[in-house]
Symmetry: C2
Subunit: 299 residues, 2 copies
């Protein structure tokens, strides 16, 4: 059997997602032109589309057949929510970041008022896009429950609050695990899970995605912390060392660099064997390759 | 037949809504304590609950029977979205308001970072709450389509962008109508409509709510502009004359005070006769009384 070419696979899916995003938020979308421009500026700033990819993999592993009609509105909504969170996280009142994905941040280009509203509008447009999906309504409501649980008070936004308020506190295992599981972990996990839910996956499959998705989310965030410590600005497209300087809670600060690397490796290996055991090495290839990428990435 | 006591009716519904909001966002909700406190601060700052009331009236006029299970999650979600928009509109980068409903604005109490995140979290929690509704999934998806259409790019958030960017432009009928129909009109209209949709109202009923809701939304906003001009700060609980001073586009600036009053009266009368023709004077009482309140209110 031919070698599985993960780069080609990802590139293909990335183009599918980008074309769909273009369709769901075109240049001539209704609404004030400046708002559409600000939303598109960060949405099309060259993201890896990791969350939509997870949703697509979850959907295809569960036998989903209508990527265009059923899954892409959900996957694109997820990417819009992610982009909203980036715009707001970068604001002067939050992390006060000047660069994101190698470009000036949204508020540096459009000003604070429009940046806040562009984030809000991406958030709103995400739900507007998700409810265009042809997924049967009962499943779509389950998808929405999963997503809103992952991003809310006890999810992404709660994690961001803990992140902002945690800067003044001494490094703590408890705090860093709370922040990371909430701020990134739950939403990454949800991305994989909703792919399965949208395809009508069995309870066992959704449970597997829950467990594997959690490990992927944590691995992703630990590697993020490591890259903030040792990564290169040019590759990452954002400032490095900033988390350390601002006193943020990170795995590297709490556990040290070597221990953090080991943790990421163990989590990734455990996620990979779960996938192999459930789907087999062949069928599981896309997800296994993605996990390998996440733990080995240097950008 | 006994006189219909609208004040008692409203008070009863307002208490039902407040109790439900308390249940959907209790003090000990999961998530960082400071975030929950900031969200609740503005959510329970004494709003009139106009939008939930419209949803309840639409639901009951359409024969809906399960207010608790079906409608209140939707009505409370709507109020959370409204509250989110107030918190963000008040931010220093936007209208920079110090008072709202007679109390210091959210960012004055909790700081800008938490205020932005409290708004975001109310927005997210709104959808989380709406998808708890027992409305059949196909209707719930229709409810979500209506709401996300009303608040997005070509709705509330688009209107807010036009409002922020319109401050520098000369008063214009076209701009003021765009801003008002988007920023407040569509969401007020949607509140009434989703009440009907949730109850499985006929197409004719939903059409009526669309037309009446549009008139109510415009009336509400014109009266808001009039009150900004001639209202009393103590009654309104917010600064007056601020829109005029900041050069905002208002009906009063474009049409003059007398013409604005006349417009509001004509719109309200037209909405009232539509309701009377469709439901009859007796059944239509709650909605008719609410429209009268909106056009006659001085706070």
């Amino acid at each position: 059997m031919a070698e599985f070419d993960f780069n080609a696979y990802w590139k293909e899916k990335l183009e599918i997602v980008n074309r769909a995003l273009e369709r769901f938020l075109p240049e001539d979308a209704e609404g004030p032109e400046i708002l559409v421009r600000a939303m598109r500026y960060t949405l099309f700033a060259g993201g890896k589309r990791l969350r939509p990819l997870l949703a697509i993999i979850g959907y295809e592993l569960s036998g989903g057949k209508d990527l265009e009609g059923e899954l892409l509105p959900v996957a694109c909504g997820i990417e819009m929510i992610h982009t909203f969170s980036l715009i707001h996280d970068d604001l002067p009142a939050m992390d006060n970041d000047d660069f994101r994905r190698g470009k000036p941040t949204n508020h540096r280009v459009f000003g604070e008022a429009i940046a806040i509203l562009a984030g809000d509008a991406l958030f709103s447009h995400a739900f507007h896009t998700i409810v265009q999906s042809h997924v049967p309504p009962d499943r779509l409501v389950m998808v929405l429950r999963e997503i809103t649980d992952a991003i809310g008070l006890d999810g992404m936004l709660g994690g961001q609050v803990a992140d902002v308020t945690g800067e003044k506190k001494p490094p703590s295992e408890e705090i860093v695990e709370y922040i990371h599981s909430r701020k990134t972990g739950k939403f990454i996990r949800a991305s994989l899970k909703v792919g399965g839910i949208a395809a009508g996956a069995s309870t066992e499959t959704v449970k597997l995605f829950h467990s594997v998705g959690e490990k992927i989310g944590l691995t992703f965030q630990i590697v993020d912390d490591i890259l903030d410590e040792i990564g290169e600005k040019d590759r990452l497209g954002k400032s490095v060392g900033k988390d350390r300087e601002s006193g943020k809670q990170t795995y590297v600060r709490v556990f040290g660099l070597e221990e953090a690397k080991k943790k990421a490796r163990i989590l990734a290996d455990s996620a990979i064997s779960e996938v192999e055991d459930f789907f087999g090495k062949e069928k599981g290839k896309p997800l296994i390759s993605l996990i390998k990428f996440i733990v080995e990435r240097n950008y």
